[in-house]
Amino acid sequence: MEPVVGDAGTGARGVNESSAVEGVSTDGMTPVSAADVIRAHALTKIFDAAGSRTVALEDADLAVRAGEFVSLIGPSGCGKTTLLRLVADLEAPTSGELEVTGRSAADARLARAYGYVFQSPVLYDWRTVQGNVMLPLEIMGFDRAERRRRAFDLLAMVGLGDFANRYPWQLSGGMQQRVSIARALAFDPKLLLMDEPFGALDEITREALNLELLRIWAATRKTILFVTHSISEAVFLSTRIVVMTARPGKIERVIDVDLPQPRGAETREYPRFFELEREVRESLRGTH
């Protein structure tokens, strides 16, 4: 198990001994593990709007290793989305250091290092399901045959092989979200950033998609940074859970999830599952 990297109270503890020191960060001060896909140090984001100043994220330290499934959980407004957007270079940090796949977040974005899945599917109405999945491939200059092959494979993988030529409005919410995941996987990024992707879905659909996501994760060996506000979802999916607190947004605690892999419906029945749930819940309660 990879140990916790960040602690909001004491600041950075540095890189864990077990991580091989293979390089240095851009400022040349902090050693970096080559296997760290995301590495944040004292990451702070302050929104300065006219008259109001919001500390969305303060002093966040986090390291995510390749192949990990890390969940961010915390009350609304604790900076989960902000952290994700900083990693995605959709926002610029106010201060702190951030590396994604071993380079700056901007370079990582330009290198198309991650796929992003929003809470809403954000499908393009004017494209068919297949067209939506192929969009990033078009932009990235994949040839036509390759685009078609990948879209076909990914849609089959998310169970929408028969819906390739439908338009988004003809699909249910769960199906739309699966298209959105397929699209994020289309160009085969190492890292998947998912911001409450199943937040708007009903419990049954959500659990089905959870299983599916685990299957995809296992099959593709992606690194996933996953935002959720559901405790059981976080425990069920993650290898580690990052518990955050609000106002200002901080990382409260990181919990290792030592449930065995591969996980299935029976995982939810393990006593350890309930213990972990309680642990997360208590951490969250402690944040009040």
Partner: protein, 620 residues
């Protein structure tokens, strides 16, 4: 859709009545539009037996009426029972009355069977208006053939198309079918007419064959009744009311309304006719001259239809008249030597000289308004309206085919051609407007400062009233060497001028309508601005673009019609609308309205179809 159409059509009928009936009522009440009839009367002396005193019946005793005359009311001869005498009284109070001074001629023998009837005692020419079969009046009339019979010819034509009765050859009546057959406007006789024979065709109920011998032919073989004639017609004279005391010069035709212009009217004082001719002065009325000379030495002097008072406004010295003040330049100065119609509304005449005590003033001949020209009932008048502001829908429908085939297709006034021309102009306007609109919108979205600088002008362009702008634009185009009367350029430019606005607004809104997350997603793909524009912004704007194109289509059509109208471009619908309005052709105006609105609907529908084809992702 169909139900709406039917409802609209059904609505057309009450609307047509609601707009037409007030006009019909006005027509019926407007005396000037009444049918005029002229009455000719005999001298009062001749009427004395019938007309002693003020009322007709008060003195016309039944015995005398029976002996000497037959009264006719509305073409129906009156008997002398109490009922008919009452009817006569009533009629005498209103319209002039026809009185036949002699009893009926005796019934003709064998009228019914014989082709021609011989009336005992012969006919006087004056009696031709009073020929009766039973109680129905016969209208006589026949026309001789155009061709002269040469003993061979069987085909004859007649000068008027209303000659539709039997054909007479030397007084012998030929029956249709056996005797002759119709061939278009001509008739073909079964046997050739003898050389030099009299071939004629009847236009009325009867033909006078020989007035001296009293021979007539009847058009129909009537089943019964006597053929009778009246030998003479006497009409009541119109007596003018007013005191004949040697001083009064004002008399009024109270019984019958007079016409403003009545050239045939002759006023009489006893048996002396009063001249109705107006006399012009010998001098030019230049605003200075006061002395004017007329041909007669007496008369009513009138300046601009206002009669002058002798001694007050003028003094007379024989034929010359000296006015107290000079009449204005070019004033109408006239002298009426007999009488002057001072007030047509009340029928008041001003006589040049006052009649002597007891002298009767009367009109020997006068025209009067007999009855409404449009018809007896309001509905008849409605149907007789020269133009209906809202025609019955089926009248409009019936006019469509003639309207479109009025001119051959090769003629530029052909309605179908005009429709196509305007369609073309509108499409050109739309294409131009859409191109300019989209281009502006794209630049606005890409360069905010440009939008800040230019957008107020775009709005200002639409606040300029198009109707004021068009002439200026036409002037500019004309000076640029474009023949605006035949060019499609003004149509396209003006249509585009108003069509581009909704396109700009809609497209800007569309390009900005993109979900911010959709843009974030493009950022996460490290997409270039060109990709963002082509793959996200533009497709997202397409539904907005089509909505604004629909608005733009309607606007382009309006612009095209206005341009065609103002540039006098004879090739388009706009000019036709203007032309039909000016020529008062209401049904055609409605057809043009229909055509242009169908054109609008059709073009918008075409845009809709294009949207379905090009943007099929929209929820239906």
């Amino acid at each position: 859709m169909l139900a709406t159409l039917l409802a609209l059509v059904a609505l057309g009928y009450p609307l047509a009545l609601a707009f037409g009936l007030p006009l019909a009522n006005r027509d019926r009440g407007d005396v000037r539009k009444w049918i005029q009839e002229t009455a000719v009367a005999q001298a009062p002396d001749d009427l004395t037996p019938l007309l002693a005193g003020t009322g007709l019946v008060a003195t016309a005793d039944g015995e005398r009426l029976a002996e000497t005359s037959v009264a006719v009311l509305e073409r129906r001869p009156l008997g002398h029972g109490a009922e008919d005498v009452a009817a006569l009284t009533e009629a005498a109070a209103g319209a002039p009355l026809l009185v036949l001074s002699d009893p009926w001629g005796r019934p003709a023998e064998g009228v019914v069977a014989a082709p021609a009837a011989v009336l005992d005692g012969g006919l006087l020419a004056a009696a031709l208006h009073a020929l009766y079969l039973g109680e129905g009046r016969l209208v006589p009339g026949s026309l001789p053939s155009r061709e002269r019979p040469d003993g061979q010819r069987t085909r004859f034509t007649f000068p008027a198309s209303d000659a539709a009765g039997p054909v007479l050859v030397n007084g012998e009546r030929l029956a249709a079918g056996a005797g002759f057959s119709e061939d278009g406007a001509a008739v073909v006789l079964a046997r050739p007419a003898p050389f030099g024979a009299d071939v004629r065709r009847m236009t009325g109920d009867a033909a006078i064959l020989d007035a001296g011998a009293g021979t007539i032919a009847l058009a129909d073989e009537h089943g019964g009744g006597d053929v009778r004639s009246a030998l003479a017609i006497v009409r009541l004279a119109e007596r003018l009311e007013g005191a004949s005391d040697g001083e009064n010069r004002r008399f009024a035709a109270a019984r019958t309304r007079l016409l403003d212009v009545d050239p045939s009217r002759v006023l009489m004082v006893e048996d002396r006719p009063l001249s109705a001719e107006a006399e012009r002065p010998a001098e030019r009325i230049d605003g200075v001259v006061r002395r004017v000379t007329f041909p007669s030495a007496a008369g009513v002097v009138v300046v601009d239809d206002v009669p002058l008072e002798p001694g007050v406004h003028y003094t007379r010295d024989g034929t010359s008249v000296v006015l107290t003040s000079p009449p204005p330049r070019n004033a109408r100065v006239r002298q009426y030597p007999g009488a002057f119609l001072a007030d047509p509304a009340s029928g008041t005449f001003l006589l040049a000289e006052a009649p002597g005590p007891g002298e009767r003033v009367w009109a020997e001949r006068y025209t009067f308004h007999a009855r409404p020209g449009c018809g007896e009932t309001l509905l008849e008048c409605f149907y007789a309206l020269p133009q209906h502001p809202v025609p019955y829908p089926h009248w409009i429908a019936a006019g469509i085919v003639p309207f479109f085939s009025k001119y051959p297709v090769a003629d530029e006034r052909n309605a179908l051609r005009a429709t196509l021309y305007t369609t073309l102009g509108t499409l050109a306007a739309l294409a131009l407007g859409a191109a300019v609109g989209v281009l502006l919108a794209v630049n606005f979205v890409l360069m905010r400062p440009l939008e800040k600088a230019v957008f107020p002008w775009v709005i200002a362009s639409q606040t300029v009233p198009i109707i004021a702008l068009v002439p200026v634009l036409l002037l500019v185009l004309g000076n640029a060497g474009i023949t605006i009367q035949t060019s499609i350029i003004p149509t396209a430019l003006i249509g585009a001028y108003i069509a581009f606005f909704p396109v700009v607004v809609g497209t800007v809104k569309g390009l900005r309508s993109v979900d911010p997350l959709a843009l974030d997603l493009m950022r996460s793909y490290a997409a270039t601005p060109v990709h963002v524009f082509l793959k996200v912004r533009f497709p997202a704007a397409v539904p907005f673009l089509f909505t604004s194109l629909k608005l733009g289509t309607a606007a382009a059509l309006v612009g095209a019609l206005v341009a065609e109208t103002e540039s006098n471009n004879r090739r388009g619908l706009g000019f036709q609308i203007l032309g039909q309005v000016q020529s008062g052709n209401v049904a055609d105006v409605w057809i043009l309205l229909l055509v242009s609105s169908l054109l609008g609907i059709g073009l918008v529908a075409v845009v809709g179809v294009a949207e379905r084809l090009l943007a099929p992702w929209r929820r239906p």
